[in-house]
């Protein structure tokens, strides 16, 4: 009889802190090595390409501002995904929730409500968060009531929302002054997020998103609610037995998660464009999943993770202009880095024994 000559995977007796913190760094190095094959294939020197990418992301004040600007929605969506994944609710719908937040922002922000700026901005973030949260309630209720898998429902809702946005900006909400372009009217001046530095697009959404990360960290770490969210994620049966109200916790988690993604929508509309178009987000909701995985779901680690991915996108843009490598290298880098981090996290907990 043939025996399987198998590679064995064994749990490590203990996981050192050193290993845990080295995991993301080694994953990024592995990613760069793997992707250098593609760069060589494109006929460009690997060192040049990565140097250009780095320069494009951090090499000038303009580059830095762009990298930070791009990280704002990624921090929001990364947090949204991390909060949901912590309680084992797999929200793949941050993209749709982002657009729901953006829709609410333009609905209330284009003249329907007029408040002074110091009230208008919190109000817009609030309605954006509510829209995102309420949108996510649909899959949550389908899951808690009818046990419908949330991965499917949250993912498919993204397309529903995008089609709704498309309908609205082509039809009833189209700005008559936009000369036929499919976009909504601009939000009122009081609803525009101020820029942080002169000359550039970096806006105050950065402060909001950093505050959000800090608050989520405090919530998860120090509050009873955070305890309950973690408990439900680790072991829902034991949490229920101990008296945690599972449905209530899942609903609150969903409101938080959807809310954070919705705030990404508000921040993009009020901070960058001023109006809503169909290209508001080049997939920030999906990249948020990569951010959350890279940060291993830790709310504060979301910030460097989002900055890293944002740098990859911004840097790859600039690199592709300088040498003959398509910008799609950024998507490959992000994809490979997520796989690499998953493998390296596994390797911190398990060792592989070769035959």
């Amino acid at each position: 009889m043939r025996e399987a000559q198998s590679v064995q995977i064994e749990a490590r007796d203990h996981v050192s802190l050193m290993r845990v913190s080295m995991a993301p760094i080694l994953a990024i190095l592995a990613t760069m090595v793997i992707c250098s094959v593609l760069i060589l294939w494109a006929g460009v020197s690997v060192v040049d390409a990565y140097a250009l990418l780095f320069k494009g992301a951090f090499g000038s004040l303009f580059a830095l501002k762009e990298t930070f600007t791009r990280s704002i929605p990624l921090i929001f969506t990364g947090l949204a995904v991390a909060v949901a994944f912590r309680s084992k609710f797999y929200n793949i719908g941050a993209e749709g929730q982002l657009y729901a937040g953006a829709l609410a922002t333009v609905f209330f922000g284009t003249g329907l409500v007029n408040l002074p700026a110091y009230l208008m901005l919190p109000f817009l973030f609030l309605v954006g968060a509510l829209a995102g949260g309420i949108l996510l309630l649909v899959p949550v209720l389908l899951k808690t009531r009818l046990k419908v898998d949330e991965v499917v429902t949250t993912l498919l809702l993204n397309f529903v929302v995008l089609l709704a946005v498309s309908y609205l900006i082509e039809g009833p909400w189209r700005d008559p002054m936009a000369m036929g372009w499919p976009q909504t009217a601009s939000i009122v001046d009081a609803g525009v997020l101020p820029t942080l530095v002169s000359k550039g697009r970096l806006h105050a959404g950065l402060i909001v998103t950093l505050l959000a990360a800090l608050l989520i960290w405090l919530l998860m770490r120090f509050t009873v609610l955070g305890y309950e969210i973690r408990a439900v994620g680790f072991n829902a049966k034991a949490a229920e037995f101990s008296g945690v109200n599972i449905n209530r916790t899942v609903v609150i988690t969903a409101l938080l998660s959807g809310g954070l993604a919705g705030m990404a929508g508000t921040s993009e509309v009020a901070g960058l464009k001023g109006y809503l178009t169909l290209d508001l987000s080049p997939g920030f909701g999906y990249t948020g999943i990569a951010v959350a995985m890279l940060a291993q779901l830790h709310p504060l680690a979301i910030i460097p993770a989002a900055l890293f991915l944002s740098a990859v996108y911004v840097g790859a843009d600039s690199m592709s202009r300088a040498v003959n490598i398509p910008t799609y290298i950024a998507d490959v880098l992000v994809g490979v880095s997520v796989l690499a981090i998953l493998v390296s996290v596994m390797l911190t907990r398990y060792r592989i024994k070769w035959p």
Partner: protein, 495 residues
């Protein structure tokens, strides 16, 4: 020549000596029991045999041939088969697929199912291990899954079968049929190593018994010459005295069920017209074969099942609409059957698990919003000391604790608020003698201070020695609770 011999096996983990020059031999066609408390080194020894660990010193020979250390494949090739305590089967695959999993080459183009199927049918037939090869593992009972594990080992031509705590998850009937299977295997020349700490089972099934204590073999004897008390003494290093039930007058009625009906989430009846009153200073036992409604009764008394009708009262106050949080708040302590799945959150720290039932209490929270970690750690420290919990401290991760220590942690959480009513569901299942005595002492102490206790168990000996009254559960109905003096009635209706 012995079928298997261990020669001077030693294994150290840091300063801990898990195995201390162990020499043992196993003959063809015999069942050898390996007896020892949790942590005595049984599992380490078997892991060395199966190639999971390499021994620091010593060697293993199978049929006189040296077994290469640290290789699972070599162990399987040499005819060693292991049935783990926690099954290693894939729920979403069929019996046949699970059995051939890993034996097929990754590079073969097609499955060789028909050959496997006939080999399996032949084995099932000759060892009377009947099983449907196309059934999904997920649909099988625990006893059937164990049968699949045994078939899986036999399929790989095992000549030496290691069973790690095989009866911990079985009902008495399933245990009985496992023993029949083991006998038919040894009749055909297989050798079995049976790991357990249940003395009566070891005496019933094994030919020889080796007792391990703190990594050393302290006794090797023939089963026919061994007695239960002698084995317990060898295993623990001292005579074990299980606590004796002290006569006591029952006090006021604490918990009362009247005409209680419970239904599953799809409205199927689980409990029918259950009447039961438990008084202060009293332990009432629920006997019966598993699957007759004990789990449903435990769910109701834990506050988990709210599809109920009839009366459920504590101190005369109705709990018919209450959930787990209210149950705990009004003085009900619950020791769950499955301590890993329900009792503890393994990924959380010990200090987090000791506060899980009163997160918003003034003691461990601030304004019911923030977790007061300092207070929780203080409580954990106090309980670790009081309940003699062996751990690295309140910040240690709970899943690193041994089974006995996890049960102590649950007892600490449940008993320290001094509940008026205690539901103890299989509280000593899978524990070793020392831990069993400890749990029983704790229950007796609670009874003494005036708690009413409901003890659900499948072990009649345990019920007879612990309970003031015993009721029998059968198909969702509960008999009247009677003193164990009427034990003949109890045994005849339970079996």
């Amino acid at each position: 020549m012995s079928r298997l011999s261990f020669k001077g096996i030693s294994k150290r983990f840091g300063s801990l000596i898990a195995n201390d020059s162990i020499s043992l031999s196993l003959e063809a066609g015999e069942v050898m029991a390996l007896l020892g408390e949790n942590g005595a080194g049984k599992t380490t020894l078997m892991n060395i045999l199966f190639g999971h660990y390499e021994a620091d010193e010593g060697s293993i020979e199978v049929e006189g041939k040296l077994l290469p250390p640290g290789s699972t494949e070599a162990a399987i090739q040499a005819g060693i088969g292991m049935v783990h305590q926690h099954f290693t089967l894939a729920d979403n695959l069929t019996v046949l697929e699970n059995i051939i999993l890993g034996t097929e080459s990754l590079w073969s183009w097609r499955h060789e199912r028909s050959a496997a199927r006939s080999k399996l049918a032949e084995m099932a037939d000759s060892y009377s291990l009947a099983i449907d090869p196309d059934a999904l593992i997920g649909s099988l009972s625990v006893g059937e899954r164990q049968r699949v594990e045994i078939l899986k080992a036999l399929y790989r031509d095992a000549r030496i079968l290691i069973l790690d705590e095989p009866t911990a998850v079985l009902t008495p009937q399933e245990t009985e049929s496992l023993f029949v299977t083991l006998r038919s295997l040894t009749d055909r020349g297989l050798s079995v190593i049976f790991i357990s700490h249940k003395l009566h089972e070891i005496l019933a099934i094994s030919d020889r018994i080796s007792v391990l204590r703190r990594g050393k073999i302290v006794a090797s004897l023939n089963a026919s010459e061994a007695s239960r008390s002698e084995l317990a003494e060898k295993m623990l290093g001292a005579a074990v005295t299980r606590p004796q039930l002290e006569a006591m007058e029952p006090g006021a009625a604490i918990l009362s069920l009247q005409g209680l009906n419970a239904y599953s989430s799809d409205k199927l009846p689980l409990l029918e017209n259950v009447d039961l009153t438990v008084y202060a200073h009293e332990i009432v036992g629920i006997a019966g074969v598993a699957g007759n409604g004990q789990a449903a009764l435990a769910d109701v008394l834990s506050g988990l099942n709210r599809n109920i009708s009839g009366r459920l009262e504590l101190h005369g106050k109705s709990l018919i609409d209450a959930g787990p949080a209210e149950f705990v708040a009004c003085g009900i302590g619950r020791i769950p059957e499955d301590r890993h799945a329900r009792g503890m959150i393994g990924d959380m720290a010990i200090w987090e698990n000791v506060i899980s039932e009163d997160l918003r209490s003034a003691e461990v929270s601030k304004w019911q919003i923030f977790v007061d970690k300092a207070a929780a750690v203080k409580r954990a420290k106090r309980l670790i000391e009081q309940f003699d919990l062996r751990c690295k401290g309140p910040l240690a991760q709970t899943k690193l604790l041994s089974g006995g220590n996890i049960q102590k942690l649950i007892l600490a959480r449940v008993l320290s608020p001094k509940p008026d009513f205690i539901l103890a569901n299989q509280p000593v299942r899978g524990l070793d003698e020392g831990a069993i005595a400890y749990v029983q002492e704790q229950l007796f102490a609670a009874r003494k201070r005036g708690a009413a206790i409901l003890l659900i168990s499948e072990d009649l000996d345990e019920l007879l020695s612990l309970c003031d009254r015993i009721a029998v559960m059968y198909q969702g109905s509960l008999s009247e609770a009677v003193p164990p003096a009427a034990r003949t009635i109890v045994t005849s209706s339970a079996l």
